[in-house]
Amino acid sequence: MNERILVPDEATGRLVSACCSRRGFLRNSMVAGLAAAAAAAQARLAFGGDAPSVERPADPGASLAGHAKAKRAIFVYLQGGASHLDTFDPKPGRTTGGPWKPVATAIPGVYLGQHLPKLAAQMQRFALIRSMTSKEGNHSRARTLVHTAYAPEATVTHPSFGAAVSKEAGPKEFELPNFVSIGPQQDTAGFLGVQHGPFVIDNPNRPIQNIDYAVGADRVERRLDLLAGLQDDFAASHGKDVTAGRDDMFMKAKRLVDSKLREAFDLSKEDGKTRDAYGRTETGAACLMARRLAEAGVSCIEVVVNGWDTHDDNFNRVEKLCAGLDPALATLLDDLARRGLLDSTLVTCFGEFGRTPRINERSGRDHWAKSWSALVAGGGTLGGQIIGSTDDDGMVPKDRPVQVADLYASFWHAFGVDPWTEYTANDRPITLVPKDGRIVRELFV
């Protein structure tokens, strides 16, 4: 069904080769047509379904609509690698598809895994990229890749997306940390420096460690006064560079303790109905905290949902995991939309890879990097659409393969930040996103 065709590249006007599948075309155009943005459908029709990756535009913001709306991001990370076949890319009727029935979504003809009914009802709010593909099948390497857009490198530690958002889009002065990570820590600020690193919340249901003064506030002041004198003396002999980081650390710590905004971390301020809607699970609590933090002005929040490494007992475990994820993520999207925050909040959800279509002898699925799915919503991206597809068994992308670099180029585009912004680390020039990343334009037009 696949054939090579030449289509005009919208950015450059040049004819470029694209891989086009008829079925993909039909389904995509149908989905897009039913979605709210009719204009988007027009654009897609002009491209014949599978839009080619664009060359790097001279000004990536100028050629695509829908950019620069995102002001903050929430990344719901499915740690361990979620089974795409049992969540976002069901294959009913195939032995690889498992025992479940798919559930219809708000978009006719599009289905999700059986245990994501609430998310299915919110399908108009998000796009699913079903043709994610990478080469990293090892947890730690893949985790680095999906957090930083780069595979691990020996000489440089790339910053997690959240750290880079803190640097690129976060306010310089803010009472709360710019980047909050809820759940087991995954992130590093890498060469951006620890001030952009995540503020880690181990458990959303427990208060932040050391957030309250252990001695009276006046005594804290007194101590900080003493410290300031010592700092000044050391700065005089060794340079301000050496002391500035520590001064900044105490200033920010104290500012957080004294801030009214820290209530954003306190879920007891929410009513019971809201908490029920998100689900009384750790994932539900984390997603609710993410919304509170987004509302308070935090630039990036990562929610780590652990447990997706289902080498055995895949179906029972994924069912349980979905029971936590489904209400939490669906309510998060709905809640953000109702509060008028979704358009300025990029919400993403994926793991570090997919899982094997072949079900192993322990009813498990193993690592599978060749094909997996990513959910993208808000921040000016277009919901209600499926981008790319996998073959009948979900083994490989059938069309429109999307690399992690493409995904992150798109996220930065949503922020209106040039994905190829250059940094220097270890005296080497390094771009935010690898140079071969291309914006997934279907997310915007």
Partner: protein, 636 residues
């Protein structure tokens, strides 16, 4: 590199490795060089390095800072050799020592302490297996690796033997500690070749994995040749030996499994099925092995389902070839990894000595002569090549003598320069014309806090070896606790501080450094920890465990007490300005802050028994400020 050219070494290697394989059990090859000539006095080598640096400073128009004072020196050497600040008594003893060569004598003394092996075990662990990580990776047990390498260092195991133990390690990461070198890395021939080259040769060959290196003389073939040394490694799932972690861990596991069995029976499984199922689901680690020469290559390098990494065909079909040297022929059998280990560990190997010399220089001087220390390449050149050449030659001739490296470097004038320089420009730093200035590692912060707060009396006696079985926490990936303990009282204090606090400390302070950012920074949680944590505040204000009452008893004037706090934390006496400022503070401050504000839960630090003595509280606050300062948190 005089006499040790690549071509010369290639010829030597060709002789050594032609024909049948030779294992890693060669007699110490260092002897060949060492016995030939008497080693020079280490001080002469230091002087030669200083001359090379002085010449570079002249060319660059750099003026070195003055020689550092004894107070700076004693603190610097303790932090560099045993990883913590010296105790107040150790500072005073050194300052009072009238011997003219006391600086050298202090190094000699510290090299003999357990603390020296412990600190360098930390440094080597970081290089070989990484700092620790929070992930419960069952193929990686850093808490087992660290005491092992500390023991090896304490036993003065020669570097060639260490390399051989690590590279030829078989078995699982729990029962055989050096296996963790592999456990830490992805089990692919390519990753291992890259990791080994970086750790031991200081050369980054992994860029040549996909293409010839654009700038370097490293071809894809060179990479594949190195990768082929690991292409016969095998991995099988293995049970985690829970009994290593003591009876409690075994009991916990049994209880957990029993519950799973009962649940499964409730769900309709027969008991036999349930037991078999639970047994199968038991967390597994890996068993590392190697097919010896001649054996048929497996289709996959890895048989564990979690690590399905295929050997790339181009690696599988490559002959192992030492980097820029000869092909290794293993047709007659033998371990490829052992052959690689002997090649690396040969003192005539120009990469190994150079990488080691530069690594030690980097540890002690805060920066490699080539920096990053493990990235030698034609675009990353040495700032003072002559100095590195002298140190490399001496390192090779000594048969990779670690202690000698420490002696030579610490006795240079460059090491003993003052770090005070209000304008630290990059050139002065790169050419070492200003004394080293380094931010504490998390471990240095924690250990130095323990010394400053009176938990540890003699930091040179700290060790992680004698703690017995590794704790359950260590099994999960970290290394907390098991500090050297003195008398009963200290023990109680230690326990108090250790319970939970150590764990939260390392969670807060381990921020995955090495990302290329070298600025002096701190995170908000670190600030919160120092400002508000029970661990820190309890140690300051709880009279049952605080060191302040002792200090008040031992010194009876304000000035003497203030002086003691400075020596205890900063290894120096206060300036007159500081003395008058803090005397004034102590006189006027009075007790404060008994009633906490800001939190619903109130002051957790409030002692359960006796309240804090009013006289103690200003001193507790001064001690807080001292241990929270940049001067405390840096090695300068």
């Amino acid at each position: 590199m005089s006499g040790l050219t690549l071509a010369g070494f290639a010829a030597l290697a060709a002789v050594a490795f032609s024909g049948a394989a030779r294992g890693g059990d060669d007699p110490d090859p260092a002897r060949v060089l060492r016995d030939g000539a008497e080693m020079r006095d280490a001080n002469d080598v230091s002087k030669e390095i200083d001359a090379a640096l002085a010449a570079a400073w002249k060319t660059e128009g750099l003026v070195p800072t003055p020689r550092c004072g004894d107070d700076d020196y004693v603190r610097r050497v303790y932090l560099d050799l045993v990883g913590t600040i010296p105790s107040a008594a150790q500072v005073e003893a050194f300052l009072d020592d009238p011997r003219p060569d006391k600086r050298e004598l202090l190094v000699t003394a510290l090299l003999k302490t357990p603390g020296y092996s412990r600190h360098f075990a930390d440094l080597w662990s970081e290089v070989l297996v990484g700092a620790g990580g929070t992930e419960k990776d069952k193929d990686f047990a850093p808490g087992i690796f660290r005491p092992w390498i500390e023991k090896e260092l304490a036993a003065r195991r020669p570097y060639p033997q260490l390399i051989a133990s690590i590279l030829t390690a078989d078995g699982n990461p729990y029962s055989n500690p050096p296996v963790n070198f592999f456990g830490r890395r992805a089990f692919t021939a390519t990753d291992l070749a890259g990791g080994v080259s970086k750790a031991f040769l200081g050369v980054q060959i992994q860029c040549a994995q996909c293409h010839d290196h654009p700038y370097e003389d490293i071809r894809q073939k060179d990479f594949q040749g190195m990768a082929a040394f690991f292409a016969r490694m095998t991995l099988r799932p293995a049970d985690i030996p829970y009994d290593l972690f003591g009876d409690r861990a075994v009991k916990r596991l049994e209880e957990r499994e029993e519950k799973m069995v009962q649940d499964a029976i409730k769900n309709g499984m027969t008991e036999a099925e349930a037991r078999a199922d639970v047994r199968r689901k038991r967390p597994k680690t890996v068993e590392v092995g190697e097919l010896k020469g001649g054996a048929r290559l497996p289709k996959r390098l890895v048989e564990n389902e979690k690590r399905l990494e295929k050997i790339p065909a181009e690696v599988a079909s490559s002959s192992p070839k030492f980097l820029h040297s000869v092909v290794y022929d293993d047709a007659a059998g033998g371990s490829r990894r052992a052959a690689l280990a002997s090649w690396i560990a040969n003192p005539a190997n120009p990469y190994t000595a150079r990488a080691l010399a530069n690594r030690y220089w980097g540890w002690l001087m805060g920066r490699g002569i080539v920096n990053p220390v493990d990235d030698f390449s034609s675009v990353n050149i040495a700032s003072v090549p002559a100095a590195l050449e002298i140190l490399t030659k001496d390192t090779a001739e000594s048969g990779f003598d670690f202690d000698r490296l420490v002696r030579v470097i610490t006795q240079t004038k460059a090491y003993q320069l003052s770090s005070a320089s209000a304008k630290r420009d990059a050139r002065a730093r790169d050419f070492f014309s200003v004394g080293p200035l380094k931010q504490f590692s998390p471990q240095q912060t924690f250990d130095s806090m323990q010394v400053a707060l009176g938990i540890v009396d003699d930091p040179t006696l700290m060790t992680d070896v004698d703690g017995g079985a590794p704790s359950a926490i260590e099994m999960e990936g970290g290394r907390y606790g098991q500090m050297g303990m003195g008398d009963e009282e200290t023990k109680d204090r230690t326990k108090l501080m250790m319970t939970g606090a150590a764990r939260s400390f390392f969670q807060t302070f381990d921020d995955d450094e090495g990302g290329g950012s070298t600025a002096f920074e701190g995170t908000v949680p670190q600030g919160l920890f120092l400002m508000n944590s029970q661990a820190v505040n309890g140690m300051l204000t709880n009279p049952a465990i605080s060191v302040i009452p002792e200090i008040l008893k031992a010194h009876d004037t304000d000035r003497a007490r203030i002086r003691h706090l400075f020596v205890r934390t900063l290894a120096r006496t206060p300036t007159e300005k500081e003395m008058s400022r803090f005397s004034q503070f102590v006189k006027t401050a009075g007790p404060t802050g008994a009633a906490p504000t800001g939190g619903k839960k109130g002051a957790r630090a409030a002692p359960r028994g006796r309240p804090e003595d009013a006289q103690a509280s200003p001193y507790a606050d001064l001690l807080w400020a001292l241990v929270s300062s940049s001067e405390f948190g840096t090695n300068h």
